[in-house]
Amino acid sequence: MRKKILFISRHAPYGSSIAKEALDAVLTAAAYDQDLSLLFMDDGIFQLLPNQQANAIGQKSFASMLPALPLYDVENIFVHLESLQARGISKNELLFDSVQTLDSTAVSALLAQQDHLLSF
């Protein structure tokens, strides 16, 4: 039976390995043919900014890795609206135009629909 699994990525792309290891987990889960979603909130939304120069600190750029998600059939990608607003970032500045913004009420509803939450 397919399960609804939501990955929540809440940390900045660099400075710690959490965001990268979250992305690895999402890409792994994509091979299991489940009903996957991915939500960026808090500092996790910084992963979605273009023009990341990760080479300069010996890292791989999220801006080049994240666009692969739809190729792995991870198509339900959400961004928490209030997290964007708190950081002065608008949706049209993000890497994807296919991300859906959700306010806190809609995030609550999304969480409630899931069988499992994997929070990073």
Binding site: S17, I18, E21, D24, T28, A29, Y32, L118, S119
Partner: protein, 130 residues
Amino acid sequence: MIFSLAVYSPPYSSQASESAYRFAEALLAEGHSLYRIFFYQDGVHNSSQLLTPPQDETDFTSRWRELSERHHIDLVVCIAAALKRGILDEEEANRYEKPAHNLHEGFALSGLGQLVDAALMSDRLVTFGG
């Protein structure tokens, strides 16, 4: 109910491993079952047999091993996260020509798919640390 746990923080520097252990004991005491404990990110350090705490502090690795033996629980360590942090079993030490290996008996190195599998096979997946 079937549970699995995911542990993302190392022992000693974080309370997460202690909380995960206590949660495991509590759910088993309540009659639930524990399918798997998956160690990821810095949580992989829970599986090193070289952890040498002072006598008046918890020996996390041995305690996980003892819990696993007592209740037949799968202890799985993410192989990619483990190798880059210097946690190797004998096979990986040979493969990469390293002079030593340190994965504690009773733990298994395996892929991240085992975390996804734990979610699929369990009613609840509870995350500690990160």
